[in-house]
Symmetry: C2
Subunit: 338 residues, 2 copies
Amino acid sequence: MRVAVLGSGMMGTAMAWPLADRGHAVTLVGTHLDGEIVEALRRGAAHPGLGVAVPDGVRAVPVGDVVQALADAEAVIVGVSSPGIHWAGRTLAGALGRRIPIAMITKGLEPAGDGLAVLPDLLREALPESMRVHPVAIGGPCIAGELARRREAAVVFAGRDAVDVRLFAEALAAPYYRPTASDDPVGVCVCAALKNAYATAVGIGGGLLEREGVVRGPVAMHNLEAAIFARAAIEIAAVVRAMGGNAGSALGLAGAGDLFVTTSGGRSSRLGRLLGLGRSLEEARTELGNPTLEGVDIARLFHERIPAGIAVDDVRLLRFLGEVLFARADARRIFEVT
Amino acid sequence: MRVAVLGSGMMGTAMAWPLADRGHAVTLVGTHLDGEIVEALRRGAAHPGLGVAVPDGVRAVPVGDVVQALADAEAVIVGVSSPGIHWAGRTLAGALGRRIPIAMITKGLEPAGDGLAVLPDLLREALPESMRVHPVAIGGPCIAGELARRREAAVVFAGRDAVDVRLFAEALAAPYYRPTASDDPVGVCVCAALKNAYATAVGIGGGLLEREGVVRGPVAMHNLEAAIFARAAIEIAAVVRAMGGNAGSALGLAGAGDLFVTTSGGRSSRLGRLLGLGRSLEEARTELGNPTLEGVDIARLFHERIPAGIAVDDVRLLRFLGEVLFARADARRIFEVT
């Protein structure tokens, strides 16, 4: 199969491993932000974020070649950042010209009316009728750097179109990459979008203890972090339910699994640690080197207003995170909302 | 209230902090194994496991004084080790002589007929009719060493008798110790009993990567461990459901929360790490200094036979752990069962 991956960030590029290992012809299409990455990959150099070169045969092309790259693609994987989803929609709408299966690793939630929409539904709406598929959402614990080293990951492929779900799941299954099919794209997308915010909340617990000089060990294994983790899982399930998804998704790979791996390192949990240590959002952002912080956007969404259908108390931890981030609430009060 | 705690191990003793801070008169009753602990506490020395002395006014008495200690108690908390539950039942049956509320932090599952029983039900059966209460099960993420330092913990008090649940929850609530009432003792007990075994399974993931020389960091945050964690949460929910409990308990403090803290350190997860590194159970046990390994007992229970009402595939990860522990199956195969 000829597969175009839109976006050559870490996760988009990492998809090239199972794709190439399964014999598919892969074209990575850089976005406007990916110029240096495409340049490196074309030279055979390592991907700057992943630290390894892509498998032999994987092509990387700049954004200017997107029409050509999509021309003979039999499937597309959208791997842009959350804010890039609108560009991806416009680009596919302008360049595809036919109905082909679409999967997406891009995660996020967007306001829609007085509620929220998941990204596969937004992408679908951006496509003209003749190309309108139900994009397949990919969720579950999958750090790109590990996938690019062929280390085991079990993931979830979820969509409203069971045929397209199966197509992608079968096309990508590799000894080290195991997709499980799901018919709950809403649940999987909500889990994927919320986990960064909640990983930040869990990180606050660790930062608070560090501030008190507590070292992790047999005596301190962080009951507080675990209470926040449990509360996070419950709130994720509540939002999934409120948006019409299957709350069971919050228990498995997409929910508890992805939250677990996201709390074990990465930007979101490091942001939480710094907030627990007493830093403001701006101080923490600077200290982290101004990275994209997806969880901050999600927390802002819920800070500005409670989306329709969701009870305030059901997201009290997420709301509290918003107060810490945007209103400098004292992070030490987090135990009250867990 | 006068409260007797049966067992002066780490967790039993740690209960003295919220009890004493709430003004209750606490008597810790050592078991046959707790001689040195009682001796230390009576001298005002630190508890050998906790590293701190108990709050002022907390009494510690040796096992010989158990009848006297229970004579004027208004409530009992059972804090013995899992195998000690039968001794605790006989002791309470012989010494209480009246119906008083009982709570328990002792965790475990025992074979009963062709199925399994949770410990509050076993303890209840050990009591004569006139003393027969529904013991309140205490679950959720609560490492004793942290509780004994008044660090925040949110826990679950679960029982079939809502009055007794409320009595204990109100009596123990402290600024740093927050009990939530639950009417699902089966769910809470199953979560508490299984978590050690599953923390060992999660630990295997870390050990396997360590064996390959992988260091945790931004690139390696352990998708495999997260997949095992997610599978663990799903299997715990399945066992809870099969035993008539509320699968929702697996998502919150008792389930995901306690599993999270148990995977973040402690004997169970260290055992898993060693298994992942290729050690046998006996080698690992020696290397860990021959501690009690509750998870091993639970894994053996499911290794010997599948309890009635539980489908084999629903506990395939737990069964695999049994094969690694007792039949030297290759731990590297764990990805197959997640």
